[in-house]
């Protein structure tokens, strides 16, 4: 396949499969069309992260050469970039003029704009700013019919036509290869605050978290993480200096009211808060979680208590999002399944065959059929299809 494109480097491989490196969106679409004619499977890869070595396609498409900001006006609050552009590169452009790229992912140097959309990655500050799909204004998609199509726009508001970019968000490249992304930006905050609270037991940490969530405190991030037998609750907020001061006061009040025992440790607003946030961002990748559980906020406390009681290695809890990250070994899959109450959703972030099989969501047949029809509408020959159970 490499020979079909003059700008594709010949001979590069990944997991023993050819690695195509198209130079632009048209070349991506041409590769997909050629694969469709040859009944071959391709899979996009950002080029910044090693893909999993299972369910291998016939060839990979690296998007690392699709790099750069396409449209940027500092007075508009939106940015458009090619899919292989890293989030760090986007942040460098936007932050010069006081704007912030959302979502903020754990590793912006190794996360690309297209990869973020394909993975549906929503980042650490989802509690305040919402999921990635809320910041996604539009995209261009390369399709196996050889075309590059536009969905949405570069504007903050637009309801013209169907939102195919929403279909691409989180679809892992199975509804078209994202080649360009338009995002809404947020103001870069002028100040930040953090609050930390540590305890060996989950109950007081949970009480503090619930008190914060029930207060008028506007939280960007609220995370409880567990390491070496100690729970650490980390709250973070950002905004104007005077607002941060007020929020920190509210947070202190809430935690003092909610926590029944244990020490509280507070930091002041300002640069230490940003440093603490960076630490939390780095910890996201370092926590080693393999399974993400999602429930309802009202049921999250009991779910964590149950998991801890049954000896599961809970890495992190986002109480406001009702999200629980577990470090799970594959052999624990059936035990976890038995421990989960109905209605808890699970996503497996590593390839753990037993876990993937045990936690696979029961697909509603009507929904599954519609999803199959939608994928077939955009990729009738299954060029971008995946067969892995995750």
């Amino acid at each position: 396949m490499g020979s079909s494109s003059g700008t594709t480097e010949a001979g590069a491989t990944l997991h023993g499969r050819a690695l195509e490196r198209p130079a632009d969106a048209r070349e991506v679409a041409a590769l997909l069309a050629e694969a469709a004619r040859g009944h071959r499977r391709l899979r996009p890869v950002s080029g910044l992260r090693a893909p999993a070595a299972h369910d291998l396609p016939d060839a990979w498409i690296s998007l690392e050469r699709l790099r750069g900001v396409v449209d940027w006006h500092p007075h508009e609050g939106t940015i458009t970039a090619l899919a292989g552009t890293t989030l760090a590169e986007l942040e460098a452009v936007a932050e010069r003029d006081g704007w912030r790229v959302l979502p903020q992912l754990a590793d912006p140097n190794r996360s690309s704009a297209g990869g973020m959309v394909a993975a549906g990655a929503s980042g650490l500050e989802r509690l305040r700013h919402g999921p990635m799909r809320h910041h996604l204004l539009g995209a261009r998609l390369a399709l196996p019919d050889g075309n590059v199509v536009k969905s949405g726009s570069r504007l903050v508001k637009n309801v013209t036509g169907y939102d195919l970019h929403r279909l691409a968000a989180g679809a892992r490249g199975t509804t078209g290869v994202v080649v360009e992304v338009s995002l809404r930006l947020a103001p870069l905050p002028r100040a930040a605050w953090t609050l930390e609270f540590e305890h060996a037991e989950w109950a007081p940490v949970d009480a503090a978290a619930q008190a914060l969530l029930d207060s008028r405190c506007e939280l960007d991030l609220l995370r409880a993480s567990r390491s070496r037998g100690l729970w650490r609750l980390f709250a973070f907020g950002a905004g104007r200096p005077q607002t941060c001061a007020r929020m920190l006061a509210l947070a202190r009040e809430a935690v003092r009211a909610g926590a029944t025992s244990g020490p509280a440790d507070f930091e002041d607003p300002g640069s230490p808060a940003r440093a603490a946030w960076r630490e939390a961002r780095a910890a996201e990748t370092a926590c080693g979680a393999t399974v993400e559980l999602g429930s309802l906020r009202s049921e999250c406390s009991a779910l964590v208590a149950r998991l801890v009681e049954r000896g599961f290695d809970v890495a992190c809890v986002d109480p406001g999002l009702a999200r629980v990250l577990l470090r799970l070994e594959d052999h624990e899959a059936d035990r976890l399944r038995a421990a989960l109450p109905p209605g808890v959703g699970a996503r497996v972030s590593s390839f753990l065959p037993r876990t993937c099989a045990a936690l696979a969501p029961r697909r509603d047949p009507a929904r599954a059929a519609l999803e199959d029809r939608l994928r077939a509408a955009l990729d009738p020959r299954g060029v971008l299809a995946r067969r892995d159970p995750s």
């Binding site: 006006h73 007075h75 504007l155 508001k157 013209t160 169907y162 009202s298 077939a376």
Partner: protein, 476 residues
Amino acid sequence: MDPSIASLVEPLRALLGPRGVLDARAARTPYECDGLAFARELPELVLLPRDTAECAGAMRMLAQAGVPVVARGAGTGLSGGATPVRGGVLVGTARMRDVLSIDAPNRRARVQAGVVNVDLSHACQRHGLHYAPDPSSQKACTIGGNVAENSGGPHCFKHGTTSRHIHGLVVVQHDGSVLDLSREGLEPAGLDLVGLFTGSEGTFGIATEATVALVPLPEVVETALAIHASLDDACEAVSEMIARRVEPSAIEILDKLTIEAVENSVLAAGYPKDAEAVLLVEAEGCDAEVRATMDDVEAIARRHGAGEVRRARDAAQRAKLWAGRKGAYGAMGRVAPDLYVSDAVVPRHRLRELVRAVTEICHARRLKVANVFHAGDGNLHPNISYDRRDADELARVLDAGDEIMKVCIAAGGSLTGEHGVGLEKIAGMEWMYTREDLAAQCRVREAWDPRLRMNPGKTIPLRACMETRTRDQGRA
């Protein structure tokens, strides 16, 4: 009445009850148009199911007869999305009006599609919560209609349009099957079907239930009215607010003609009649945040010629300031019998230039245009007053509407920010999208509705769909 539809009347009446089937001409007449008043078609039959099961049963019968179906909420849409199609049946949600549950701890509610937008917020108020999207028609429009159009409103500047607030849906599909997307977690359990469905303008199916996100009532709210000596200045002030990253919850502009209409009506809000434009801005949050934001707003407005800035925190005073904005469309009825409300989005740093261009387009066609719009989102609403009985004037209105869209698209804008494409803007889709873009959208539509029976002739040009079919058949 078409015999295939006539034969369904009695079985449908058995299913939906006597109030669920309207076949008398007089009973069907109110459904012949939505807010796009010049486009009218009498539906063959109007069905008003009470819940998902009734809707599904009716849709199964209609599918067997191969009848086109148009869904309708309250009929407040402005793009003709609920205009009936010839030989088709209209399915309304007016009898699906129950708030099924309010889950305060998880900040969500489950509602039937026919629940009126503002009624939902009232129902949640005792829990300290509200539903954020607030279209100007919120006293009448329904959640189902909001889902179909991905509706906006003034406070979408901060909170985003409807799609941000929909957690789940129950959808009755073209064949009467029910798709339950109501149990979505933090992330969709597969493709984001809820996100795709929201804004699909009734072409994918009929949403009969929605699970919506609720947001806490703000601690402090302040509204400001900045009085400007020119519309240009008001636009420039908004562009500077965006450039300086000021974040209130709503930024609206009303021009002189709108002010006059409002002040001469029962909705008089105390706007100064001699102002060329007013800027209506609201901020919400904690006291410190609101005070700082509104200080920034006032300083920018004054830099751009605002001679007076009135600020209100008192609920009654704020409500009065908003009453003028929310009632502006109704007040325009004093100017002429009909109102064509255009809806385009432009880059926010080019507001002054494009508002001026839109006004000139109307004046060149001897039309009276008033501007009342969501300036913070760059979402223009040029309102052209006309009399639909005057064929020449109607032609000039439609010509102006097309030209406005072309100018906005050429400037990097879009056809519609919140009203939808519907019938009104369907020709414009080919100005904004390539044939390949539209072909992909058609294929997605056919995945939901292979026979294109749901709201045919709306949203995507039929020609694009037919071309897709021909091409695909050729390939096969």
